[in-house]
Amino acid sequence: MINAAGREIPSELAGRKLKPYRGPFSTRPSGRRKAPRIKFHDPRKSKVLKSIREAIKKVGLKDGDTISFHHHLRNGDHVVNMVLDTIARMGIKDIRLAATALFPIHDKVIQHIKNGVVTRIEGSMNGPVGAFVSEGGKLKEPAILRSHGGRARAVASGELDIDVAFIAAPICDDYGNCNGRYGKSAFGAMGYAYTDTVYAEHTVVITDNIQPYPVTPPIVQQTFVDYIVKVDSIGDPSGIQTGTLRITRSPARLKIAREAINVLAAAGILKNGVSIQAGAGGISLAATKFVHEYMKKHGMVGSFVMGGTTKYVVDMLREGTMMKILDGQTFDLAAIESLRTNPMHVEINNTFYADIHSGGCAVDKLDAAFLGGTEIDINFNVNVNTHSDGKLLHGIGGHQDVAAGAGVTILLMPTVRGRIPTIRKEVTTVTTPGETVDVLVTERGVAVNPRREDLIEDLKGKVPLVDIEDLYKRVRRFCKEPREPELGDEIVAIIEYRDGTVIDVVRAVKS
């Protein structure tokens, strides 16, 4: 069947009936959220165990179960590898691995797929694991990729039914209260972890820092935690914090960021009370800084800034151009320090942030958002998952959620990367539907989605606009259309839309 994004989707896959994507706000949920097991802890006993092996035994993990992780330790994470190695040694097989995201440091997962320990994956795959899965024939079922909001939704609804959530924490007390703010492995907000702990059958905290009760604020709460394991190190700080993220120095990328601010200013969006989604990519980082400078110059105060929190976001709060930060993921030390000390810097979880099947989520309150991507097509559909050669190399992040929620969604993208043009007739994979993407800003011009007649009217005479098809043609004069990758029939991954429908599938790449 063909879905509303124009993609061919099978009606059934691996025994699961697929619902085709129908539009950004078309599905209405029914039924009830998942109810997890009622827990009991005998206060005369200790929750703190000696080893991961003991915890796995205690929770009764068995073949076929689903385990989850959060990815706040990013490319410095040791926990996924430690747990999988232990599971492998214990002879448990056929695991569904539901990490919110996997990074290059997790390339060991490839071994565990080969030896049958991991047979299914639900979650983002950044780098080697994605490239491996792309080859086809690796997993028992296609991987499922979801947005931040989409994953929170699936966990709450029970579609992603977690048996054991392993929560890496840089500080924890002996009852399981923990947060991401203190300790040698501190990473800041713990937004990806919370929802998993609420709905998982069992929650095990893995920490390298046990402190006296009570650890506050209890972002992950004792009421959901079954066991705690103390290890030497949960991660490598150099891979956790990115250091101070560098703003791009490329003049072309700076031009893109500047143009994005011109668009927002000309459309009258930058004003008192404005709310902005900031990104942590090189160009969005620059755009965030320019928003700050513009608002400061004009004496404006916005209501909140959300998204990956960096020094540049913190500057907005400190220098009074934003009232509050809503933080689901913290990138650098300045931002961690701000989260610890500034009550206007507020930690949020992914249900609050982006779950469409909830009483309302924060992305709905955004006036404007900066996003990136690997490709965009002339209908403004965006691909963030695969490269033009068909390889699955990135997760969705909050892309779909933010694009759907924000008043104006601005894609910041250079028109060419190496030999590959980024504007396509049709994207290799649709991650985010074009009807939720409003403006494309490139180094060679600004194109507005024709669906946004209001915006085109607002920008007329203020910002030079180009037709996206003209931009496409202009780039082809010096950068030719890449060949189509040779794809097999096997579907290696499902790209879910945030509401649980299927927006696209990823097929195996023939090597």
């Binding site: 003049p251 990367r417 202009r474 004069r477 010096f478 950068c479």
Partner: protein
Amino acid sequence: MKEIKVGTENERDCLVTVRDGKGVNINAEAKVELTREDIVDVIEECINLYDVDNINVTVREFGALDYVIRARTCCALYKFTGKKVKEEVFTRKETERDKLRRSRLYVPGNNPRLQINAGIFGSDCIILDLEDSVPPEQKEAARFLVKEALKTLDFEETEVWVRVNREFLEEDIEQVLVGNPHGICLPKSECAEDVKEVERIIGKYEKMYSIKGTKLMPIIESARGILNLEEIAGASDRIVALAFGAEDFTRDIGGEKSWDTLLYARSKLVTVAKSFDIQALDTVYSKIDDIEGLMEETRRIIKMGFDGKGAIHPEQIRYIHECFTPTEEEIEYAKRVMEAIEEAKKRGLGTISLDGRMIDKPIVKRAERILRLGGVL
């Protein structure tokens, strides 16, 4: 065994190696495997162009566009075979003598990464440089790259020039005129003879390639050049501007770079240029991070009568333009001057006055210039 290497392993570039071979062998390593066959296609085109039967071509590609691969391969094949091949000459609309040239961005001739986006920063001119930014062993490669860049890249509305080497005038011009740039910058122009020589070579290749209208911009960067400004300015009708090169000039006179050191040279250059009704363009500002310094110097040279300033970094362009942008009041006054002229013409009046002041030719000229700079005309 003969082996030729052209290009680099830098981002956006490629390294082409050509050797003797039996039959044609092409070995390509692509950054993205998907594009490997496209790269091979480009190399095959080049081999056909040079009509070689026995050769080994190896390319390692690091995100290079087709024009870069073509330039590197053709240069290697040229060095390997010594053959000159007939190529299609690029068609480009001639530029106008008095086009705005507030900013001119210098772009190194052998660096693809800096060329690809050169056209997007809104400078009035781009100068693809074969001279000081290219080390001697890369001169040949740079010629081919600049030629292919001229034929391929999207320079939008920008005027494109090539700065050639005094020592390789003919070699440079023969190659780059295939790409039909708007003009040629002649560095170290010292006398009328220098200009006449480059004019003769341009004429020869314009004829050969059936193109016309190539403009000339002598760059004055020596004591002798300043001394001979008048004969230089009058030596060719192709000249649309005189540019000043402060670095070499300072070295030449044995001075230290300062406003005072350069004042005489600047004053003379502006005076001579204006007396020949051509533009006067000031030197580049070399401290990239010193925006305040750039703007202060630009404001001062504008007051002296200069029409433009050189830039070595794209970020400098918008600040230079900001300096050239007239104030609202200046634009208003200029508009009123033009209206007064219209009114006087209508009524058949010989003398024109505005606010009780006579409006003469220089005032009208200034008003026109302000309206152009303000984007009104």
